[in-house]
Subunit: 215 residues, 2 copies
DNA sequence: TAGATTGTTAATCGATTAACAATC
DNA sequence: TAGATTGTTAATCGATTAACAATC
């Protein structure tokens, strides 16, 4: 799909899910054809940027016509790797861990939590939906045996690096980290961290500097 | 604090919380002085970028010496608006809403959830920690009466815009949105959206394209 | 065919990095 | 003072936008 051996910039990659989401909405509205100009109006990127972005991955459009919504939606899904499913584990059955486990949208998108892991004995053995909470000591073995692709870290920042190490040693391919810390992982392991407090502090900054910005 | 009337770029603003976090860690380790070069090693930005970033807000360093960690930490806290507290409400007492309500770190940083709002009658009247779950119909009145600064939206994407509208009409200053949709708010209201699925899909992309990237 | 719109190259803009004089 | 390191200007790099020939 990707053209030649050009490196795609992270800026482009992070826009792809947004394209896909808006294309989904168009499909819901039974709109099957869209030009970069029209898409620009609803998504807020320039038409030029949209065409540049998409052309990193191939020529999905047709001159004089625009883009076929279904086709583009499915192509972006494939590019993002949403055309097949992944096995995941959630480590930490606290607030965020439970929220992720309960959030069925991720499962619908192909990210299936197969088990949760905890150190708190009161939680071990319980289930969240059909997902069992297991003893954290079993994490490594489980990842190896069940062919887990993605590890989701929902522990405190103090425990997160240890958990990541176990995951890496057990052959995990990617880590989705919610602990408020920057983890160290080898180059072959993909890491994506959600820094909730950084997001909140950014909001706080903008709140404080709003008036100045309006000057 | 901010120099003249230069506009600070979002790229810089989004790095500020990370500076603050690493400076906190240094304080925990009783390190009271740091040069941009040393900070560069632990935080992963270039020393040049660190000096550029900080100089947007003033000259916090001293030639030949470096930066005083306490001073810089507190200065960045002030810049981010973390030197005073905010009243918040959480709308939606589902998975994410409950997780946010239970996550005491935000409260410690000055973002105090004063109430939650729900449409599900089974949840109305319950408490999460000391935070009462109230009828969503009372949201607007509550925001006005209690001087709420920040509204946290944890509803479905279908309800999110309506909730945002009520918040805006009631004089909210900022919205922290967890619903997977892009909200429309007037210019004077600050909006920060956490797109969890976009983060997950980015991870998925990187997973899929890992091997190619290693070529 | 004429009109529309892409794909792609070139121009611009902005952010990052390098360099170095100022100065502690 | 000499050494270290900032603050800041200049150079580079990368991303976005504009322009337009290609073509459906």
């Amino acid at each position: 799909m990707q053209k030649g051996n050009t490196r795609i910039s992270m800026a482009v990659i992070r826009r792809l899910p947004k394209y896909r989401r808006y294309l989904s909405e168009l499909l819901d509205k039974d709109i099957h054809r869209i030009s970069s100009k029209e898409l620009s109006k609803i998504i807020g990127f320039t038409a030029s940027q949209i065409r540049q972005d998409l052309n990193n991955f191939g020529g999905f459009g047709q001159q004089g016509y625009g883009y076929n919504v279904e086709e583009l939606h499915s192509a972006i899904g494939k590019i993002l790797g949403l055309d097949h499913s992944y096995n995941t584990v959630i480590v930490g059955a606290g607030n965020i861990g439970q929220a992720i486990a309960n959030y069925t949208n991720f499962e619908k998108a192909g990210f299936k939590p197969t088990a949760m892991f905890e150190i708190n004995p009161k939680l071990i053995g319980l289930k969240i939906r059909d997902i069992e909470i297991m003893d954290a000591d079993l994490l490594g073995t489980y990842i190896k045996e069940k062919n887990i692709n993605i590890g989701i870290i929902c522990t405190s920042k103090e425990k997160a690096q240890d958990v990541a190490n176990v995951m890496v040693e057990s052959g995990i391919q990617g880590i989705w980290n919610f602990a408020p810390t920057d983890l160290q992982v080898p180059e072959h392991v993909v890491l994506e961290t959600v820094h909730l407090s950084e997001s909140l502090y950014t909001l706080s900054y903008l709140l404080k500097h709003k008036r100045e910005e309006e000057d």
